[in-house]
Amino acid sequence: MAKWMSVAQVKEKIEENSAEEVTARYLEVIEKSKINGYVTVSEKSLEQARKIDVEGHEGSLAGVPIAIKDNISVIGLPTSCGSKILEGYVPPFNAHVIEKLLAAGAVILGKTNMDEFAMGSSTETSYFGPTANPWDLERVPGGSSGGSAAVVAAGEAPFALGSDTGGSVRCPAAFCGVVGLKPTYGAVSRYGVIAYANSLEQVGPLANNVADIAVLMDVIAGYDRKDSTSIDSKTEYQKALVDDVKNLKIGIPKEFFGEGIHPDVEKAIWNAIHKYENLGATWEEVSMPNIKYALASYYIIAMSEASSNLARFDGTRYGFRENGENWHSMVSKTRAEGFGTEVKRRILLGTYALSAGYHDKYYLKALKVRTLVKQDFDNALLKVDLLMAPTMPNPAFKIGEKIEDPLTLYLSDVNTCPINLAGVPSISMPCGFTDGLPIGLQIMGKPFDEPTVLRAAYTFEQNTDYHTKRPPEVA
């Protein structure tokens, strides 16, 4: 069996051999892993695959293995969000997306590493240590869904689920040379996904090609009564996989090509834009003047919501607990010990931004900026069908290079977080290399217009070979 397989190829192999053999083969690869992508490898995956072989399954993913980010609840599998504070916590219920995957017959290989509570862009803040980038083991895979992107890039899973609050699917997709989609806010249920910032995040798929992204979206998307922000957009994602971009209007927001962008990244993006032009699309520059405020707005909103979301981790009911003389001291000690530095920093900043006297100055103002950013997207997408820009201004950096400097690390989200403020769909896909490191092209669309985003991405993929390149270090 080939190390890297598309879902279609995996299904052929299941047909030829068995689901059990396919899963066993992935487990073998995981066993030899050099990247620390999995936090937990499921003991039940083989059994799950065997059951599908024996009983048969009509689902679209019957026997197909998948990796799940460690903030998505799966019955029986420890779900820790990369944090000590959730040590020993095993969810008694499945996230909605997991229910959907299981119903489709998917086999869960395990839980993937992530920045603690999805707070980071490098997967270095995980309690379980950093994950290495398969293209250069000394570099970060991006984050926060770094584990999910890295295992897909390293052939340790055909595809994976991540979550994207400010770029957490697209950033690691770009750094690891895989495809990652942040769906429109509301397209996928967040029920059972441990929240970092509710108003921004979405579960998103990561895969080695665009078609597999669509396959996964057809399974996980839709309305869920347990998430009142979810809606049924009735989108048929795989139907969007058409090799045709004729007359498609592409907008190039110059604000996404700001100071500090790597020249090779800029070049690769323009090469991609010219490729689209050759394929029959047109492009024009568009202006989104409020994008420069997006990062500040994003961090204030995300941290404010996080300060509230993470209050539940107090040692009272589950997870890690440090004893104290009374309840308040137990809670203080548990949180002081259980959370990592970055998480504590964000809780403190978020608490501050919501406090009386600062609420209007920071939180409320951030919400107003958010509205302006959304309007920028609305206006730009009136004129064009899609927006294109670099996902990350730079390729993957070295492990340890930025971790001591949170502000620099925050700045790496500059091109991804505006999308979460606006709630629009956005995909990152490989479009070139610099010094052997992948570069990601970001394609943003109108709300619930994933079909146009996917069509553009699919067409690019059909006419280029970036997605066929594999990291030599793990080959």
């Binding site: 922000t229 404010s304 509230s308 209050a311 919501l354 406090s355 009386a356």
Partner: protein, 433 residues
Amino acid sequence: MEAAIKVGLALEGEIAEETQFHRKNYFYPDLPKGFQVTQYDFPIVSKGKVVIEGEDGEHTVGITRAHMEEDPGKLVHIGSIEKSKGVLIDYNRSGMPLIETVTEPDMRSPKEARRFLDKFRNILEYLDVFDGNLEGAMRVDANVSVYWGTRVEIKNISSHKGVERALLYEIMRQKNVIRRGGKITLETRHFDEGRGVTISMRTKEEAEDYRYFREPDLMPMRVTDWIPEIRETLPELPDAKRARFIEQYGITDMHAKSLTSKIMLADFYEGVCAKGVDPKIAATWTADVFLGELNYRDLAISSYDGKKIGFIHTKDPEIENSFKVSDMIELVNLFAEGKVSDRAAVEVIRTILDGKEEKAPSRIIEEKGLFKAEDDLVTKAVAETIAENEAAVKDYLGGAEKSLNFLVGQVMKKTKGTADAKTARELIVKELM
């Protein structure tokens, strides 16, 4: 949400066009998420009212607002709150939606506070949004101040009677503090039901910062369009029903008030009246006798299914029983036709309430020999009584009315209580005229 709107309409309040929920952030062991979802500055209901019977006639209590929020959970102290060594947390009701209603400071006495609560609860039961027999279904925080001074909040009182008692105590305490030259501090107090006193829980030295912000997981809902449909489902409310009972059945206001104090009792009464019995007699037997006997036995009405009214013991829910509409009809008719005395009818009701097996009133009357005596039997007893009690007869004729009571008593004794006291009295008077 529909239930909250229903309550709002019944309180004649204004309903918000759109729902909005906020998070109230604070750490407390009964709050599993570390925040409570609540309606902060956009309550679903505002500016309502409830009319109660005040100290000096009809009195209106203003409703400031009613908002929805989630129930946190419940702390259970081992023993008393002061001496408990540990705290247990019961999360069973955590996350359940509830309505918190805030009134204007319109109640002028502990009694009015209790009457307001009784009336409010009565309305909620009419709306069928609430089961008052469930523990903790209605909890009260009562605020009180004297001489227009600083207010004190007494938290989580579980009964209406408890509210009245807590307020009486608290008013006395505050007046005495001031009399001794002390000052009332803004604080939260706990009511110890057992000792009937309030105990300081915490002082509100500075307002806590709850860091409110919009709950991102709950989308706003436009509910304005729901209102006409919900209004259609509003039942006849207690005051309207009371007025109609007086009008339709010609009963007294006292009876109408009593019968409408519980929707199930009102329905039971109407079930009885529907079968053509005398509504005034039915009102007396339902409101005065039947309800009185229930109260005497600590039984609370808990159901009505069109055929029978059910009740459970207020302290032991294991004890439950019911009373049939058909039994009340039979009894009222027997009484109206003069076939049973009032004493016998009361006896029948008691027998049914205390009985384990179902028996029709006529059978109870027969088994206990409660049928009213034949007239000639009473006439005979009257004649005998007059002959046997010369002294009493003489006293009566001399103007001592009390002696007449004695003579009636003797007739009743002779007839073993089956005679109608009124008839016996009339016969004696006639005989001695």
